[in-house]
């Protein structure tokens, strides 16, 4: 926890909806003075909205934003001491480079000679010194980017906000600009708040990463924390390559997955508890020593990736794992593998099964997910509020509507070694999680069917008194 005087921005319980779509759900975080912090997540996760709220474009529905201890939610953007670099640069097309960069200073009525000095200085910083008189539309993407950065920095803001500034550049240009941005940050010493969906970029640039998904913060930490110790499946899957598997915590420091038992370093999960396990592909090692071998597998594919070989193996227990190694193994080879206890990351399961607040709407009928389902309602009366539980593997997905109870779209696919764990957004807006061996694509329209005997009803827990 940082000292109060080191915190420059603090967001507390920020929520925001656009229409009936909740874009930010109770976001709380703080930004340390001078650090390079990145909001990372897939499109639609709320990272850009958060940035814009800090910049002053839009007001939160609830919660507070403070800068240097003062609340700024009511302060308009032109009075906040921070500047934004927009995703598509937003350079003023009717002004040349010089006038674009000088825009903020001219508004403050800074004398001409001072403006000239500062423009030249900042253009030098972004290596665009000879471009003062150029028409901005004649510049390349990378050049426009630098001018946009110069235009923001010249106002000497306390915080620089960057909204996916490198998204429109090609790969090589992006990598070069990343290095330049990092150096700029070091040189200027101001706070950078950066937004991106590119996890590699976040890992390269940041002091702190805030991983977001669906309007909620998933994890906050340093790049190494996030990479080595993801707290849930989403973070594990989003950052780097991972093998994410269903596991079982036997007791402290002993976990079972892929039908083998392993020593690990995690504690505090309890005994005999279902968990999710993450092992990075580069952390599974080949061995020729039978004593070190923890499990055997057969190689089923091997691809050269430049830096390493990427291989898929089928374990002796029917699971598929991805391994990255500098040496290749031929397809069909039987190999011996082991994993270090340090490299096994155990994560709490976010949910054990699908649970919904439901209502009994007649004999043998219950309503949840905006639809009626047939199920056994003995012991419950018409109108009762109940909790409906459906296990992941009991949800049936169809590629047609006619027999389905309801429909939805696949929004997230997690491969878990021997099955897929899908997140499906149903037509009523709520999510349902499904375990299946069928291969679906993200965005696929699906029919959802739940057999009556797969729905367990139970009394809801008493609300807090």
């Amino acid at each position: 926890m940082a000292a109060e005087k080191d915190i420059i921005i603090r967001l507390e319980h920020i929520s925001k909806s656009f229409g009936d779509k909740k874009v930010l759900d109770d976001i709380s975080l703080y930004v340390k003075r001078g650090e390079f912090i990145t909001f990372l997540g897939p499109s639609g996760c709320g990272k850009t909205t958060t940035l814009r709220l800090i910049a002053g474009f839009g007001k939160p529905d609830s919660g507070t934003i403070t800068m240097d201890g003062k609340e700024i939610s009511e302060v308009p953007p032109y009075q906040r001491n921070l500047n934004t670099v927009f995703q598509r640069y937003a350079l003023f097309p009717h002004l040349d480079v010089y006038d674009n960069v000088a825009f903020g200073l001219k508004l403050k009525k800074v004398p001409e000679d001072q403006i000239e000095k500062r423009v030249k200085k900042v253009l030098k910083l972004v290596s665009m010194s000879d471009y003062e008189d150029r028409d901005v539309e004649s510049l390349s993407g990378g050049q426009q980017q630098r001018v946009a950065i110069a235009r923001a920095l010249i106002n000497q803001p306390k915080i620089l906000l960057l909204d996916e500034p490198l998204a429109a550049l090609d790969l090589k240009m992006r990598k070069d600009m990343q290095i330049e941005l990092k150096e700029m940050h070091k040189k200027l010493g101001i706070t950078f708040i950066y937004v991106t969906h590119d996890q590699e970029e976040a890992l390269t640039l940041s002091d702190t990463i805030v991983v977001m998904n669906e309007g909620k913060i998933q994890q906050i930490g340093t790049p190494t924390d996030i990479y080595n110790e993801p707290v849930n499946c989403f973070v594990a899957d989003f950052i780097g390559e991972s093998n994410i598997l269903k596991g079982h915590m036997i007791r402290d420091r002993r976990v079972a997955f892929i039908k083998h038992e392993f020593d690990c370093v995690d504690e505090g999960f309890g005994e005999d508890v279902p968990v999710d396990v993450v092992v990075r592909p580069e952390d599974i090692y080949f061995t020729t020593d039978p004593a070190k071998c923890q499990f055997k597998a057969t190689v089923n594919s091997c691809t050269f990736k430049g830096v390493h070989y990427e291989m898929w193996v089928d374990t002796d227990t029917g699971y598929e794992l991805m391994i990255q190694d500098y040496d290749p193994y031929e397809v069909g080879t039987e190999v011996m593998l082991y994993i270090d206890p340090d490299d096994i990351q155990v994560m709490k399961k976010e949910r054990m099964a699908n649970t919904y607040a439901a209502k009994v709407v007649g004999e043998g009928k219950v309503e949840f997910l905006g639809t009626e389902f047939a199920c056994d309602t003995t012991g419950f009366a018409d109108g009762d509020e109940v909790v409906a539980t459906v296990r992941f593997e009991k949800v049936e997905l169809l590629d047609y509507e006619t027999e389905a109870d309801t429909t939805g779209n696949v929004v997230f696919i997690l491969y878990m070694g021997n099955h897929y764990h899908l997140t499906v957004k149903t037509e009523c807006g709520e999510n349902i999680w499904v375990d299946t061996n069928d291969i679906w694509d993200k965005g696929d329209f699906v029919g959802i069917k739940i057999a009556p005997k797969s729905i367990q009803l139970s009394k809801p827990e008493k609300a807090n008194e």
Binding site: A55, P77, Y89, A90, F92, F103, G104, E137
Partner: protein
Amino acid sequence: MNGKKILAKAYLWLLILVLYAPIAFIVIFSFTEAKSLGNWTGFSTQLYANLFTGSIQNASGLQSAVINTLLIALVASIFATILGTVAAIGIFHLRGRKKQTMTFLNNIPMINPDIITGVSLFLLFVFLGISQGYLTVILAHITFCTPYVVLNVMPKLKQMNPNIYEAALDLGATPAQALRKVLVPALRPGMISGFILSFTMSLDDFAVTFFTRGTIGLDTLSTYIYTDARKGGLTPELKPLMSIIFLVILVVLLVINVRQSKTPEKQR
């Protein structure tokens, strides 16, 4: 393939010949003093001279008609451009039912034949008890011109990088400053083309002016020609006037189109 091309070209040129025959007719006969169209009494530029010195027979009706036409077009276009630009910005930010309604209402003056616009506005002014004259004609012209401005400014709004207004705010501009220094310059090309289109539609209008000008003797060029032709004779000075207008339009259109084909299309 060549035969096809020749046939095609011939077809086009035949059409052009037919299209321009009447216009050529006017231009040729503007160089003669004969009172009625179609009479050739020898080459003369007298009519052109008359036009400029203002010594036209049948009173200064023609002169004042020309001045009225230009004045009304100018005033109406300026108001239409301002109203239309503000409206376009507003409509751009609307969604759903409201946007549909505004777009529909905006389209009505463009779909309505001018006679309907003229008659309906006539009834409006009678109903409201407004005496008809310059004011009503200008209001009427603004009514049918503004939709075209909206139509020309909208694409510019859609093309504009949505962030530039915010960028200005971010750099310290108040909303008013951001509007002036950033938004308006970005929309300027659309405003200009909207203005030009308004001006042209106003210049060319007949029916709407006809019904809204009242009985004070207000004439625009179109109504002057109408009354003139109905009386039987045609003020001879109209011939050089039309020829000059034709020449001006020809030059302007050629210049615009040649410039457009020279400058490369600006990307997004």
